[in-house]
Subunit: 346 residues, 4 copies
Amino acid sequence: MLGIGKTGWIEKEKPVCGPLDAICRPLALAPCTSDVHTVWEGAIGDRHDMILGHEGVGEVVEVGALVKDFKSGDKVIIPAITPDWNSVEAQAGYSMHSGGMLAGWKFSNIKDGVFGEFFHVNDADGNMALLPEGMDLASAAMLSDMAPTGLHGAELADVQFGDKVVVIGIGPVGLMAVAGAALRGASEIYAVGSRPNCVKVAREFGANQIINYKEGDIVEQVLALSKGKGVERVIVAGGDNDTFDQAIRMLQPGGKIGNVNYLGSGDYVKIPRVAWGVGMGHKAINGGLMPGGRLRMEKLAALVHHGRLDTGKLVTHKFKGFEKIEEALMLMKDKPADLIKPVVIL
Amino acid sequence: MLGIGKTGWIEKEKPVCGPLDAICRPLALAPCTSDVHTVWEGAIGDRHDMILGHEGVGEVVEVGALVKDFKSGDKVIIPAITPDWNSVEAQAGYSMHSGGMLAGWKFSNIKDGVFGEFFHVNDADGNMALLPEGMDLASAAMLSDMAPTGLHGAELADVQFGDKVVVIGIGPVGLMAVAGAALRGASEIYAVGSRPNCVKVAREFGANQIINYKEGDIVEQVLALSKGKGVERVIVAGGDNDTFDQAIRMLQPGGKIGNVNYLGSGDYVKIPRVAWGVGMGHKAINGGLMPGGRLRMEKLAALVHHGRLDTGKLVTHKFKGFEKIEEALMLMKDKPADLIKPVVIL
Amino acid sequence: MLGIGKTGWIEKEKPVCGPLDAICRPLALAPCTSDVHTVWEGAIGDRHDMILGHEGVGEVVEVGALVKDFKSGDKVIIPAITPDWNSVEAQAGYSMHSGGMLAGWKFSNIKDGVFGEFFHVNDADGNMALLPEGMDLASAAMLSDMAPTGLHGAELADVQFGDKVVVIGIGPVGLMAVAGAALRGASEIYAVGSRPNCVKVAREFGANQIINYKEGDIVEQVLALSKGKGVERVIVAGGDNDTFDQAIRMLQPGGKIGNVNYLGSGDYVKIPRVAWGVGMGHKAINGGLMPGGRLRMEKLAALVHHGRLDTGKLVTHKFKGFEKIEEALMLMKDKPADLIKPVVIL
Amino acid sequence: MLGIGKTGWIEKEKPVCGPLDAICRPLALAPCTSDVHTVWEGAIGDRHDMILGHEGVGEVVEVGALVKDFKSGDKVIIPAITPDWNSVEAQAGYSMHSGGMLAGWKFSNIKDGVFGEFFHVNDADGNMALLPEGMDLASAAMLSDMAPTGLHGAELADVQFGDKVVVIGIGPVGLMAVAGAALRGASEIYAVGSRPNCVKVAREFGANQIINYKEGDIVEQVLALSKGKGVERVIVAGGDNDTFDQAIRMLQPGGKIGNVNYLGSGDYVKIPRVAWGVGMGHKAINGGLMPGGRLRMEKLAALVHHGRLDTGKLVTHKFKGFEKIEEALMLMKDKPADLIKPVVIL
């Protein structure tokens, strides 16, 4: 990223490795819709000559003197969120906000991202996880952001055995939310989306019903499917401020919303007063950035490694070679009909 | 209530007692702001010839054949919310929504209230609590609605040891929220209000700071008091849809809002997108009707009985005699400067 | 049950239906190990001429005057635990202990069980669930006790995404615990057991590893599999008081035990002091009777109905005809090698 | 500590300050019963020439190059538990077990303690808190261990509004548990103990009833006070393995135990099978080491600073001068009748 709306290649010094840090070279990289927001929508403000990217698998080439558990040559999964673990925010259980709201997100935000020849990882012991033996690189790259974000939607919505769950949006994060809802014991999952490839994968991940907004109001469709009662949980992984109006209206009293969607514009999220029980309906509204760090990567990698979660299904386009990143990024920007997620293998 | 905007006395048959129910005569009654909303704002729609009131202490005059734990002559506290305990909503932990959103609220809503010569209590064993020996009737009447609602604000906001807590609104419910925040271990409580009587009681209940909106933006005042960091918890016990805009902006990432305020008008509650972390700030928004029923009454009565909670401080105006209810209700409507809560002793 | 150690057929009056109750005739019945404990071990003390059984599917033949949601002819699932929903225990969230510890268990404990021509269900609206259209009767009978008990093990152990979970005991409840751990997002499940039929089904439900105590100390086997670290969760569904010694020793600090096993003899459950961190290791020990009632049945039935949970795999022996109950019970007592669970279809 | 059973003064080099660390000199110190266990009971095994002590307030004399928030001259509270915040255990929410069970406890365990001319603090930004302006040093020294441990008992027991709570043991930790139970909204607190000074302070902190084991079985006394029902919560802050037998028997189904007592001898903690509901009574058993680190110190210091918690009441003996530490330690060993806690001011 050269500036808002402009991308290109840039020469930079190899990053410096602090005593707790690591320097890695990428093995697999994936562009994210957030990269598109960053460049073309200026989502996080102007950035100049910043290297993009926060999803990837790498090989360690250097570690700081205080790093205990990693060494050069280790293959590692790097989470999009790399907290400062000793911050008071992390001590309070919100490591993703270490140093300030959303500030656990460092790559391609407050420092260079992973789309470089080398990249820097803060607190290597706390923020990298060994790539399990035999794990496919493309599947592993989905662990940086797509899987932890989607599954966090199911955590925020607090899915319990037998719940009916709506997942709004079935891009890669929404698909992981479908998988997450199934993995936490939902009985019925209604997935809102329309792109054929995504619909197919949503069904494979456990969606019972696909709701297409083109076929009528999605709230009415959900109410019809649930015999007028609404659902216990809604995971928001797409849409905009107005989506919360729909989510609240399809929710039962005592229900919970888990939002993991980036809200890019508008002043106010819309919570409909009456459907929210005039403030007293016990419809909880939660939204949060994914938890990152080493343990999260290890746990989700274990789910993939043991066949509980197939992140590989997200990868529709594979490229080979560092120079293909730009192409992959443009694909993410243009979103052809058959795209879920591209990965570049190096 | 004769109709929207009209009150008066009405003759009705003594209510019929079902096998699980009880009939009581009132010993102490308190009008609620909700009664004012019901009559003069038509908050719950039109009601004709409905007896108002849902706060009171009574004496049992009749019990149904299946009632096990109560008998005629027992003095009892009656909660504003009297759930159907075998409903699926109650089984899910949301008894206040038994039979539908907010439908655990029956008195002066879907049936006659307590401002009658006799009133009917559904599921007596599940919804009444014995008045502890020696408890002041006026203090006990505050247990029907004011105490459980205010303390539920502290529960919804999930106050933990050492938290900084803002309580917005210090009417009787807000004052109970202040007491509730102190009782759950808040270190600092900032109470937003201005009426001198309420301010005095807020300080007695544990407020460290009083924030007056007349002295500037309350968000700025909270940020100044918290050295720019904001607070961990906000309990909303007053204001309107726009109050949530302020609440979100004074909250830390990882913070929680507990709303117990009835939102009377407007289409949408306003959640500010950017201050809400573009959807990902982990600022949880909870709002809910008070839990009612017998156990809740017993637990809160124990707090009062053992001197942990002094609900009597809320009672600024005491009346004597059934016919004074109208005067007390008008007082609640007109809200003179020195009013917190009136009670009528019979 | 005629007395401890004696079973036989007995003539009784058709049970009386109270205003909230229902009378059902059985459609499918399953004997439980608890029935064996009750008769041959005197587990709940002496009982004379008590009808056994608490697992079954039935048809409603009579409902009380206050029953709203069921009518004669309805086919229903009946949970083993049928709480008094308005009790203070249920209001506190522990309906299975309504009226006293474990007293939500009424069938074949404090009243006649379901192995009769007719049986009585207290609080029909609160304690029965409609049999979903097309559901296999044998699979449905597993919802009375096996599924809710096994899945409660996973709830008590609080399984989270990516956890390693040990399930001790793979009888029918333990198998449901394996399924429950998988359904809540465990990454690895180590199932302790040896009977070939159970091992086969455990693998089908998601066990990655089978641990056979005949092949060495199970703690050492678990530590070996987890690279010396132990596991995050242990579900106890078999064994005895000493099993907790093993469970604590295979658990990580911060780990949790969920016990759903009936402990039939001995004075003290053994918690090893040092392995429990001299009292400070944050190894939580939970144990509890299954939650019963209508909502629980509806939620678990939805899991079966939508193909998330295949309770039918438990049923290894099917009988036809009321008179076969005794044979099925004896099978449960003798536990032949290929038995998991017998069902009698009527 | 020179070896088991032997104490004395020793000359050591000034500790070395790593890049994240700080070196402090003590301002106030307090010996702990754990120090007595360490020396005279060999509780943590043999240690040679190890400096004792883990409770204290200090002044920073040196900080590492990567320390951001502290500088020489800062007065700070140092927690007994100083975790490695980037460890996987801390990421899982159990920082006190970072690096292994109980291994967040470093002072006077796996490195020299605070009873030296200088002492070393690992991860200064994560593990020290500024002493609030004007806070009494003796009160502040109680924040290192006594307050966080006692209050953690109330957290582990999960005290809720209106609960009846038993606190077993009213030494300094038990007294803080009494204060913690009151601060979380208990209605009644029964404190088990007999020493007059402790009894007096227990009442000041909110105990309603004092239970003296010399006056009969404490379980029977609790049952008598609770009308045979038992209590919702038990905090164990004294006693031994057998204490859990009592705790379980005085607990209601659905109740919770929070243990913060160090269990010094014996093989097994005794959980009575029948009173534990034959494994199914939902009587949860939790026990854990105090959470340490910066945020915890800041939160509890705020409670003291704002007058919510008066830790100063614990301090019965004040000494002046470094050389008095031995005298204070001996006092802790001999426990005269009027002792709660000694502090040495430097």
